[in-house]
């Protein structure tokens, strides 16, 4: 990983105190909104415009401590870098918080009748009794407790390199996490966090993520255009910017 912004003090400050930052009004992209100061750097290298946001979002499910974790973690999973804005700038934390109030987060889309066999092999699919809301609550507490055991700092308080290291160890199964993860397997927590972060980076902005369509712009996905009759047979780069369901243009 070659993050140009690693340990950039300003970004670090922004990340930790995100909910406290006042917003500044700017002439925006036609949304009539204002802009959060978490502008990606270096701005001139970013292919996408800076993201726009209405005002600082107040989480409805996550506690202040959990919210600090979510903001810190998504900024490492999809960092702002030379490629453009990351998941934090795209509004992934807001997206994930909003998802916590949907049937999905309560496990209502899944068959959740017992008995459960949480130790079944992976090819048997999801066999845990846990649902996304619980996985976040337990997983964030476990990660912070594990993180504090190193140097007294929560995950959000660690520097970027340490955060990346902790995430890599969770991804690998976190065998060394010990009793901190007694209630939730590290891999289940990590996979859910990564999946939801990618959703928040790439979903239609109507769901609260992918602000300014920065995720789509990065990869060249045209969003809700959904009409390519004249482009089917061509070996050419598609020239038009993304549009959203609400009609915003990137």
């Amino acid at each position: 990983m070659s993050d140009q912004d690693r340990d950039n003090p300003r970004r670090d400050f922004l990340r930790k105190s995100l909910t406290l930052i006042p917003v500044v009004t700017v002439a925006s992209t036609g949304l009539g909104g204002s802009m959060l100061m978490a502008t990606p750097e270096p701005a001139q290298a970013s292919p996408a415009k800076a993201p726009a946001s209405e005002k600082a979002y107040e989480p409805s499910y996550f506690t202040a401590e959990e919210w600090a974790f979510i903001n810190a973690a998504v900024a490492r999973l999809i960092p702002a870098d030379a490629q453009g804005p990351g998941a934090l700038e795209a509004g992934a934390p807001q997206y994930i918080d909003r998802q916590m109030n949907t049937p999905y987060a309560s496990g209502a889309l899944w068959f959740m009748q017992g008995p459960f066999n949480a130790d079944a092999p992976p090819e048997m699919g999801w066999q845990s009794k846990l649902v996304p809301k619980e996985i976040y609550r337990l997983g964030i507490a476990a990660t912070d407790s594990w993180s504090k055991a190193f140097n007294g700092k929560t995950f959000a308080g660690q520097d970027s390199a340490t955060q990346d290291d902790l995430l890599r160890r969770l991804e690998a199964g976190g065998a060394e996490t010990g009793e901190h993860f007694a209630a939730v397997p590290p891999k289940i927590f990590f996979n859910l966090l990564l999946q939801n972060t990618k959703e928040g980076f790439f979903c239609d902005p109507i769901h609260g993520g992918n602000k300014g369509m920065v995720g789509w712009t990065m990869i060249g996905f045209p969003g809700a255009r959904a009409d390519f009759m004249d482009w089917v047979e061509r070996n050419e780069q598609y020239p038009f910017p993304a549009v959203s369901i609400r009609g915003e243009r990137a």
Binding site: Q83, G86, G125, G247
Partner: protein
């Protein structure tokens, strides 16, 4: 106590393709028909309204149109020695829900069948000898021939508005150099519409396949290449390759569905009634257990309703048909130890392999462009188009690029070795999302003594009834074929000269993975055939044991096909409906004497 409704001539369980076709055919014959669909009413408006439907999170990721498995799912185990566990999240397969069923959210690849696959056991025994078929492989003949089904394939394509290129029509060569398939059986007429355009990815596959000596052809697609009006007067608009096809309601009226192609005609007739939110619990039998008297269902308010009928059509998804037969006591349940019984027997799937090729930025595959049925394929290794003798496995596989549209949350992929997150993931995703080709070997899957369906002893649905249990795993023949197909398709991928290749094939000893999407092409469990000892249905899809119950659908296939099943499902349903109209209604009783 159940409320008893007025008796009707025919009740249809499920309103997907088979339910809609049967409803149309039986109302044409003058019957009063009621269709019971357990899911909600759905249609192009409002469910496929633009731009709301262009929403990957809601449809592909949260799976809006698929079966609500919080109420009822299946349990799965790999062998009789394992304890089955519920399929708690949709993964390997995605059955539909609501009006249109899986026919509303399918892709639209619309094949016929390779004629030898209808007489699979006879053909292999004739060409390779009886000992070539593994001992526990229970493949059978369908009991109906391609020649008998041809008029029904032809009519179904006209109803669906299918785009494609014939190879021969009435024996005359018409498709050479135009994208026809030299391995395709003869046809009585051209496709209703010419082939769809080919994406750049499909063009790359076409050239590479020809370069290595294979014979590429255009996939037959139930996505329209132009405007179309079908024999029922239903109108379709030209497909614009929007890329939101499989898993979505088509906003363009371009993808054939029961909702677009058949329901508008049924709405015009007074002798048809569609009742959504009606969940059928069982087929009711009389005291002899040889005749059905109707069905019992739960309505939207949870009330138990009995619908008496002279004729019962089970037109639900493959495994729901089998479960309803088991719950109702129709036919003898299959026992894998003795090999006796028929209901649940010969459960088969699809044997998939995928290769992804990654390119530099001068190759613009623009993977957001797509249509579910379009593409370029080769049949050089499908069915029995090559000599299986030296290879020692049964079955074949078409191979293709079928670019249906990939979207960013679930549809990005990177070369092997790329991290799953961080700046390296970001860079690779930006570099490769619009510069990659995905190709599939869509292998036929055979039936085996140990792969079967029955009722689960532990888990129950929201109404207290046992879930269906799948006992299923890959067998040696499947792995052998899969590895052979990967090698053959690998030659095409290499001929494209990509920067990197990812191979997703089966390894020796690999178990069925319930979490990873493969296809929704599930077959068997209520199979058709010529002998009541080895099949649940006769060649007209009529239950051997209960003559006024007919069971159309892929549940009737004795084994899986190389091709996608919907074309054969539709043709068999029209074939069965013809038999009901011309023979059964005049003289209700068994159409074939056991």
């Amino acid at each position: 106590m159940a409320t008893i409704m007025k008796k009707v001539d025919a009740v249809i369980v499920g309103f997907g393709w088979t339910g809609a076709i049967m409803a149309k055919e039986l109302t044409e014959a003058g019957l009063h028909v009621v269709a019971l669909e357990r899911g909600p009413m759905q249609d192009t408006y409002p469910d496929g309204n633009y731009p709301q439907v262009i929403d990957e999170l809601t449809y592909s990721v949260r799976k809006k149109l698929f079966q609500d498995i919080s109420k009822e799912t299946v349990t799965i185990r790999h062998s009789v020695n394992d304890i089955a566990l519920p399929n708690r999240q949709l993964g390997a397969f995605l059955p539909g829900n609501g009006v249109g069923g899986a026919g509303l959210h399918w892709s639209g690849v619309h094949f016929r069948v390779d004629p030898i696959e209808l007489r699979m056991r006879s053909h292999y025994e004739e060409r390779y000898g009886k000992n070539f078929i593994p001992k526990d492989m229970t493949i059978q003949d369908f009991g109906v021939s391609y020649e008998e089904l041809e008029p029904f394939f032809d009519y179904a394509e006209k109803v669906f508005g299918t785009s494609g290129q014939a190879w021969t029509v009435k024996g005359q060569l018409v498709g050479e150099g135009k994208g026809g398939n030299p391995y395709a059986p003869d046809r009585s007429s051209h496709f209703p519409l010419e082939s769809q355009k080919n994406t750049y990815s499909a063009q790359l596959f076409q050239k590479a396949a020809a370069d290595v000596g294979y014979k590429p052809y255009n996939l037959p697609s139930a996505n329209t290449s132009g405007p179309y009006t079908n024999p029922y007067g239903a109108q379709m608009g030209p497909c614009n390759f929007c890329g939101f096809c499989s898993g979505y309601v088509c906003y363009m009226y371009s993808k054939a569905s029961p909702n677009v192609n058949i329901l508008p005609a049924l709405r015009q007739v007074p002798n048809f009634e569609l009742r959504p939110n009606s969940h059928v619990l069982k087929v009711n039998l009389d005291s002899t257990k040889r005749k059905a008297t109707g069905v019992t269902y739960i309505d939207a308010q949870g009330r138990e309703i009995e619908q008496p009928a002279d004729l019962v059509i089970l037109g639900a998804f493959q495994f729901h048909n089998v479960r309803l037969m088991l719950l109702s006591g129709i036919g003898k349940p299959y026992d894998p130890i003795t090999g006796e019984g028929v209901v649940g027997k010969n459960f088969a799937y699809q044997n998939m392999a995928t290769i992804k090729a990654y390119f530099d930025k001068d190759v613009h595959t623009n993977n957001f462009i797509g249509a579910g049925g379009n593409g370029v394929a080769v049949d050089d290794f499908n069915a029995d188009n090559f000599d299986h003798g030296p290879h020692g496995f049964v079955g074949g596989s078409p191979m293709w690029v079928n670019q249906a549209g990939s979207r960013p949350i679930a549809g990005t992929s990177n070369p092997p070795g790329t991290p799953a997150w961080g700046s390296a993931w970001k860079r690779a995703t930006a570099d490769y999302y619009t510069h990659q080709v995905s190709m599939d070997a869509h292998g036929a899957h055979q039936s085996y003594r140990g792969n079967y369906l029955d009722l689960d002893p532990v888990y129950r649905d929201a109404y207290g009834l046992p879930l269906l249990r799948m006992t299923f795993d890959w067998q040696e023949n499947d792995i052998k074929m899969n590895r052979f197909m990967v090698e053959k398709m690998g030659k095409i991928a290499e001929a494209m000269n990509p920067k990197a290749i990812a191979v997703l094939g089966k390894k020796v000893g690999e178990h069925f993975n319930t979490a990873s999407y493969q296809t929704t092409h599930l077959n068997g469990g209520a199979i058709m055939g010529t002998d009541p000892k080895t099949s649940a249905l006769n060649r007209y899809l009529q239950c051997w044991d209960v003559h006024n119950v007919f069971v159309p659908g892929a549940s009737a296939f004795p084994q899986g096909l190389g091709y996608n099943p919907t074309g054969l499902v539709a043709a068999l349903t029209y074939w069965s409906a013809r038999a009901i109209r011309e023979q059964y209604l005049k003289n209700p009783g068994p159409l074939v004497q056991a």
